[in-house]
Symmetry: C2
Amino acid sequence: MPALTSRRVLLKSRPVGLPKPSDFQVVDEPVPAPKDGELLCRTIYLSLDPYMRGRISGVKSYAKGVDPGDMMVGGTVSEVLESRHPDFKPGDVVQSSHGWQTHAVASGTSVRKLDPKLAPISTALGVLGMPGMTAYVGLLDIGQPKAGETVVVSAASGAVGAVVGQLAKLKGCRAVGIAGSKEKCDYVVGGLGFDACVNYKTESLVPALTAACPKGVDVYFENVGGEVLDAVVQLLNPFSRIPLCGLISQYNATGPVSGPSWRALLTNRVLVKGFIVSDHLDRMPAFLADCTAWVRDGKLRFREDIVDGLENAPTAFIGLLQGKNFGKLLVRVGADPTRR
Amino acid sequence: MPALTSRRVLLKSRPVGLPKPSDFQVVDEPVPAPKDGELLCRTIYLSLDPYMRGRISGVKSYAKGVDPGDMMVGGTVSEVLESRHPDFKPGDVVQSSHGWQTHAVASGTSVRKLDPKLAPISTALGVLGMPGMTAYVGLLDIGQPKAGETVVVSAASGAVGAVVGQLAKLKGCRAVGIAGSKEKCDYVVGGLGFDACVNYKTESLVPALTAACPKGVDVYFENVGGEVLDAVVQLLNPFSRIPLCGLISQYNATGPVSGPSWRALLTNRVLVKGFIVSDHLDRMPAFLADCTAWVRDGKLRFREDIVDGLENAPTAFIGLLQGKNFGKLLVRVGADPTRR
């Protein structure tokens, strides 16, 4: 096989505030031949997720950051082109974290083989991947929803939020979303089966949430922070729980950010728990068993927002941070052989 | 027995900001004779505690509030003067919640008999009472300290904080206090055995705490909020826990109060749990067994700040909200027959 080139997106400079396209750089670099135990892979889908803003921020966090000159990190679904590992053969589809590039050489032990008959392969980056598992662990293990309770989730039409609300419904709860457009809210209620959805851009949050949550809030799955958090905190019931998953509204902040007073957390004996899905990999078998069945049976629906071409990843990522995507944001880096 | 009069302190008007002596009113009212099953009690000690500021605020909370015209609520230690309950006789000492008054008639089922031989009776309002149990439940059940970890507690010389740090030491942790004067800090380290204490009034909090906590903070027992909370949040370790017990710095706030950004809670996967000791009464036997033995053995020390005379309760309570007390604040309402 002739030497291949991988097209890659590197971080060029640390963004200040909202990233700009010029903070990224596209380069072509040679890909080495796979050694024993390795695979040569072609990227089909690249996942774009809010956590990436943290990785490029230069602030010490739970995972190694991306420095200027480094390739952007990210989850991927790929086709195996060449295998020197006994468990894989060309044409296999695998899920991994190959980052923002068209080709990669990876150890066979670092990837997970997908069965395209079980579910569309792109779902391994969404409803049946890291975002879905984030929803599963955060809502079920931390939120501990009980039938009849009210679950509120922000960024409700996003990859995580959409699963949170549907799992809440499966557990017999009232599910209330918060999203940023009429189209998103209509989809959350009509398409996903939430009981209500508040448009944070056009509605006054506290009265709208009060109307949507007549019995208060028992679980608030937090993805956004800011004014939305300030509002929901006012509606918390005694002994409510807040799985703290993300704070996308403040990821681009350039100055100090404050949060709500903790008074309501005290008087209502609230639990707040920050979590990162990678700390909970022991839950993956249960998550995959439950959610694969629910997707198959149509009980867990999903929507994808697919952008074509690796070169468009920076712009799509910037849009994600502004809430411009509608559904799980993916970049189709190369053709999907399972879809026609 | 001739009809008795009880001197009582009522809330006269809702305080705005820090309460003033004129927000309270002293009255003398007749005490009815005890009926079958009841006791006539004479108050010896009245406990003054920060939670009382919430009760008089008019804001809906976890417990019924005190309205203008109502007697102030509070924990008490009393002597039984007359008993119409078979389990009690005159001269018995009981712990109850008779409020800010000199005499009370109470059901025999609403009080707990104390054994003056086990510990000074005043400790039933402090180290062996609600404040001690608050420390016990919050630190051990929510904070889950492990040997070698660092436990930080604010209001460290107070009734709760003093117990938190000593329990942390008993569990093999590094105990770091935060208090508001050199005398308090000296007592916390020299008298109670904490490893360090930061004076929040004279030291720059983040560098002082960084020096006192070279391995970061694993458990932060929160009593105060405000700038102290903002500082400690910057030092939290991954998977740290915050038992949220009180926010005394903001109880007198007259405008909106904000808290720290939740970013550090997310990236460090922090647990925050608001709690109220009365939700955890199932833990009282374990608390009393453990802490009574530790007090007896000198492993759990305590300091009391005793003010004489019920009429002085309002001023003492106002001082408590300003951090003027030094140790567990009590009002000696009547003579203590067990002390000479």
